[in-house]
Assembly symmetry: C2
Homo-oligomer: 275 residues x 2
């Protein structure tokens, strides 16, 4: 099983930010990445629908003989993890919420943590629950910032539009502190959607230098490494490879995905699959 690939699942190309962190942390591993581009976005859909789609994707990936499954989509992690674990019970399944919550709790001094995410992730409440499980006295504010997804997909990471959208969402959260009231604003901001790391510059420009911005990609990669070590599944030598599967439009996957992965993807590399 050590030689088997790791399955990585996302609703589209956003999870490629997680794949990038995984490949950096685990350069010897093979990866099969599946983006459900025919049915994206998950972020505005109901929990039942997202869970059903996520289980179908997990089943499809398990047919590629994967040894471990990474749910690199916050919305699917938020509402689909129990259903996926029940369905592919033979292998470890790692989501992005727990690692993101751990990183936030470790980073926050005041215990006041903000999470920005899709509508579905915020409504699902998984970040809020995961943070409060780890740090019972934390104050968590979760805010849907749906336009960030569209901006990232359009490649509008910086400039006046990205910054005015960031101010629209984040100014009310971060700029109401009074003098002598150090706990009024969160000190930590969790990027609870895999699209959002692309917009870190515009977000940073809005919240200022004092806020810790937490991206769950790096901590998820470490959680996957720990899981493989614990289960004696780590590949020991050789160089890893990556295979791309998408449920629609190889051209768009390659074009937009290249930016998220920060390396060119050839449309010929992307295999179309039906779920």
């Amino acid at each position: 099983m050590r030689e088997a690939p790791i399955g990585v699942f996302d609703s589209g190309v956003g999870g490629l930010t997680v794949l990038k962190a995984l490949a950096a942390e685990l350069p010897r591993e093979h990866f099969v990445y599946l983006g459900d581009t025919a049915r994206l976005p998950y972020g505005t859909k109901s929990p039942e629908t997202v869970a059903r789609y996520a289980v179908q994707a997990a089943e499809a990936l398990s047919e590629y003989g994967v040894k471990c499954l990474v749910i690199a989509c916050n919305t699917a992690s938020s509402v689909g993890l129990p259903a996926i674990r029940a369905r592919v019970s033979a292998m470890p399944v790692v989501g992005v919420i727990e690692p993101g919550a751990e990183a936030a709790c470790a980073a926050s001094k005041s215990g006041h943590i903000a999470v920005i995410a899709t509508e579905g992730t915020v409504r699902g409440g998984a970040y809020q629950e995961a943070i409060l499980r780890l740090r019972g006295r934390a104050r968590v504010i979760a805010l849907p910032t749906q336009l960030f997804v569209a901006l990232a997909e359009e490649g509008l990471y910086e400039g006046p539009i990205a910054e005015s959208v960031a101010r629209h969402y984040l100014d009310p959260l971060f700029h109401h502190s009074k003098v002598g009231d150090p706990h009024a604003s969160p000190d930590t901001l969790v990027l609870g959607c895999t699209h959002f790391p692309m917009l870190t510059g515009a977000i940073r420009a809005t919240v200022g230098p004092a806020i810790t911005i937490v991206d769950s990609a790096a901590t998820t990669a470490k959680a996957v490494r720990d899981t493989l070590d614990r289960e004696s599944l780590t590949r020991r030598e050789g160089e890893g490879t990556t295979r791309f599967l998408a449920t629609d439009s190889a051209e768009r996957f390659a074009r937009i995905g290249s930016r998220f992965l920060e390396r060119p993807i050839d449309p010929e590399e992307v295999e179309l699959v039906d779920l």
Copy 2:
């Protein structure tokens, strides 16, 4: 058959702008509106996938005994109309592209027409073809303006964000005319996506007062009335009703759809269906 409802199909809530025009033009008709909210948006998906989804939706609506089908989604009209007509050959099917193209050709003096739409509609080329069929010497520029969809769904119709996005897309098209070169800019702008009428204010602020903005909702409603008259299918008396079907999330359909329809929709009114 006169008493039968008219089926209206869209990928989500955008088509409610068309339903509003239909209900104003045909107040005696009953409508069944189906929004495929589980699989939206169609605008970034491949033609094959959109056509497959549209045919499934048309089949579902035909089970409600509809006498006529309106494809109130530009992307589905653009790539799915022949497949839908082949599948539900017993009834008239009206899309939004032809009526929009007719209105644009009638409105344009210079024959230089710009179309803004989703990626899928632009790539499909149906607007460009329909305009050139009607007016062979027209110059047509089609531009994908994907962020307008997200802005409309977020309710950000006006204000600095909507205006900066409008300038981002439209300034290059409308502000490069030189003195003495009256044909350099289009004189007519087609809103080739049912979401875009919500942003007319921000678009108007960018293109200025001299440009004719064409929205296909009103001309589509007239095309439907003509079709019903021609086929002797027009309902003669009584007041019309509307029934809402969605494939996901009745709550979101009601919340966002109310803005598009400009009347409150109760989540209880929205029936969930599976395609």
